[in-house]
């Protein structure tokens, strides 16, 4: 057989392509479930790590409902969209959406970029977890950042990446990089400033963390990601702030009322004594 004939070459290529396609798609179908559950467990593990709970992947499934109390989805106005779960939101798609003009004909879910938000309870304190996603040097980077109840102070942060350079940009998923986020704040006198990953070091700035030597583009990616993502939650933060003020006002009013009542009762008492 002449292996150099044109017809043979074409035939060989065709058969090879079909065989390879069958092998690869077959493996993909067979292994899909196992791979998906790994990814899902890892996501749960990362969410837990962002509130300081370190568990291995198998435990993550058990511990997740213990710590994570609510899985909210917000729209661009900071309002909660009912019957959607934060865990099901595919952030890689949401980051590409831009907020479309307020056209009432399009359902809200389609013209707004969905903002997932997890509310967690750790040792009796409420923590707000915001998922992040952005661009590194070679591919996507993502993470979760958790805030204390004041929605300003970072409680903890985790980051991960798809393909950053090992030893350089890839260091964003080490505790060395992540731990310094703790205690940083994103507001300065009520103005949103986000957190910067600073080349050359943070020098103790409350809004900056140390960048990675040799990983500047990944570091900048983290800065952009934090700024871009957190900015979108500002309406929600404001709503929460207003709610809190209302609550405080009404609590103060109640306290005043109680004082007045006590006052009158004691006055009456006095008068009776008089």
């Amino acid at each position: 057989m002449d292996v150099n004939k044109n017809s043979y070459t074409f035939g060989f290529a065709a058969i090879m392509v079909i065989v390879v396609a069958v092998i690869l798609s077959g493996t993909s179908i067979i292994l899909k479930d196992a791979q998906y559950s790994n990814v899902e467990l890892e996501k749960k593990q990362n969410i837990l790590r962002s509130v300081g709970v370190n568990v291995n992947r198998d435990q993550a499934a058990i511990e997740y409902p213990v710590y994570i109390k609510e899985e909210l989805v917000l729209n661009h106005l900071g309002e909660i969209i009912n019957n959607l779960s934060a865990f099901d939101v595919d952030l890689s798609k949401e980051v590409k959406k831009s907020i479309v003009e307020d056209d009432e004909n399009i359902p809200l879910e389609e013209r707004t970029s969905l903002l997932p938000l997890y509310i967690s309870e750790v040792e009796g304190e409420t923590k707000y977890i915001i998922p992040l996603r952005g661009k590194g040097l070679w591919g996507p980077i993502w993470g979760f950042i958790s805030f204390n109840a004041d929605l300003n102070t970072v409680f903890a942060a985790v980051f991960d990446h798809k393909a950053e350079t090992p030893g350089l940009g890839a260091e964003i998923n080490t505790s060395l990089f992540q731990d310094v986020f703790q205690g940083k704040t994103i507001f300065e006198k009520g103005e949103f400033v986000s957190i910067f990953v600073q080349k050359g070091g943070s020098n103790g700035d409350i809004h900056k963390v140390d960048g990675i030597s040799g990983g500047t583009i990944t570091s900048d990616g983290v800065t952009d990601m934090l700024n871009e993502r957190l900015k979108r939650y500002l309406p929600y933060f404001r709503l929460m702030e207003d709610n809190k003020e209302e609550k405080e006002v009404s609590a103060a009013m109640q306290a005043v009322n109680i004082d007045e009542k006590r006052d009158t009762i004691s006055n009456i008492g006095k008068r009776i004594v008089d």
Binding site: N4, Y8, T9, F12, L24, Q35, N38, G167
Partner: protein
Amino acid sequence: MSKKEALFSKKNKKLITDPLDSDNPVTVQVLGICSALAITVQLKPAIVMAISVLVVLSVANVVISLMRKLIPSRIRIIVQLVVIATLVILVDQILKAYVYDVSKELSVFVGLIITNCIIMGRLEAFGMANGPWKSFLDGLGNSFGYAWILIAVAFFRELLGSGTLYGYPVLEEIGLYNLGYENNGMMILPPMALITVGIIIWIQRVKNKDLVESK
């Protein structure tokens, strides 16, 4: 190959031992330099990469060797590439499903394995012309040759650049930092990988004069 040739005849043994030194794919043939540069900041990825290349190269070499009489010579490079790419994707899929952590470690290198010149080079130079058993040994030998350079470079870069070995803080343990020692940040950067490889080549040529080109 005569039928009576033993599995580990002298000739076959040389297939494994030659690439370790006098015919090393990295230091003598200067192949696979890109990956030697990219992933030798730490030991762990270097070892994972070495193992992946070992699997892909030996299997691909055998597959190509089995098909060598059927492959049309005009599209042989494409066929080799398809075989390599298929194997790499298969390995990656299986790792993702069963050893997820290793697959995360490997993710960035998958592309690098496909484009690793050593693999293409061996398939073209050896697999296309020799039987499956010899090709397998050749694959093993070249992988080992590649692996030891990679691991040696990573050893020095991680130790001098980060003060750790396989993530374990060796220098901190022996208290070197208390004496005023500091990590050399330059070792982390890519150029130092080339310089380290260069030093290995230098040492090798001092020991083995046959490798030095005559003027």
